[in-house]
């Protein structure tokens, strides 16, 4: 039984990826945000470009700003987005 997570994309990333959300099965060896990023970047194209390790994107796990080491588990909500520009 695969672990699944919900992925959300906002603003420029939502437009570039052509989707606002998706559910994916978490590969058995992935347990961190860095693993999720690498899994998506492996899709190539815009995914590889926008989620390259050095790019200025931000991420949240369960609605808290998260870093590469943040643990990701079954049922989590993981979001990728550009640096924020509110206010």
């Amino acid at each position: 039984m695969a672990n699944t997570i919900t992925l959300l994309y906002f603003a420029r990333l939502r437009e570039t990826f052509g989707k606002a959300s998706e559910m994916i099965a978490l590969p058995a060896d992935v347990a961190t945000l860095e693993g999720v990023r690498a899994t998506l970047a492996a899709r190539g194209g815009a995914w590889a470009h926008e989620l390259a390790a050095g790019r200025a994107f931000r991420a949240a796990v369960n609605q808290d700003i998260a870093g590469a080491d943040t643990h990701v588990k079954d049922g989590d909500e993981v979001a990728f987005f550009p640096p924020v520009t509110g206010g």
């Binding site: 420029r12 949240a60 609605q63 808290d64 987005f81 550009p82 520009t85 509110g86 206010g87």
Partner: protein
């Protein structure tokens, strides 16, 4: 303490009166209003659309207010942030902080604004004469938020 993310405009006079009404010990109210300018990075802006991350937005602003209350004496605070399509001269954001003394009110209000600019998940897309563009985060905003870290 109240956080509202809404398409509707707000009235600083009404919101200030409501906040004060709830707490007669407030002696100082600092507030901030952000307004859509008609010029950004040299291009004239016709309108902009504000996107956000529902759920996380409210949560992150509540976290910011909680941090402010931990640092300064804050009797009440209100944050209203608008979303959707806004035009030049429209109000975007309101922060009101009530305290016993003005130093706390000013510091907490500016702290909340600096963090709103750098932490709360909002994104602006502008319509200009040369097409639509996502606004880039400003280095100056990150610097303003970093300022507070040195005092921790």
């Amino acid at each position: 303490m109240a956080v509202r993310v809404q398409a509707e405009d707000f009235d600083v006079g009404r919101e200030t009166a409501l906040l004060r009404h709830g707490n007669p010990r407030i002696g100082a109210i600092a507030s901030f209003i952000g307004v859509v300018r008609d010029l950004n990075d040299g291009d004239s802006v016709a309108e902009m659309t504000l996107e956000h991350y529902p759920g996380m937005t409210e949560k992150s602003i509540e976290d910011i207010i909680t941090q402010a209350r931990g640092r300064w004496q804050v009797m009440d605070a209100l944050v209203i942030h608008r979303i959707g399509t806004l035009k030049p001269l429209d109000q975007i954001v309101l922060v009101v902080v009530g305290s016993a003394h003005r130093g706390d009110a000013f510091a907490a209000c500016e702290f909340i604004m600096d963090y709103l600019k750098t932490r709360a998940p909002f994104w602006k897309k502008e319509q200009t004469g040369s097409g639509a563009r996502w606004v880039d985060a400003r280095a100056a905003d990150d610097a303003a938020a970093d300022r507070w870290r040195t005092k921790a």
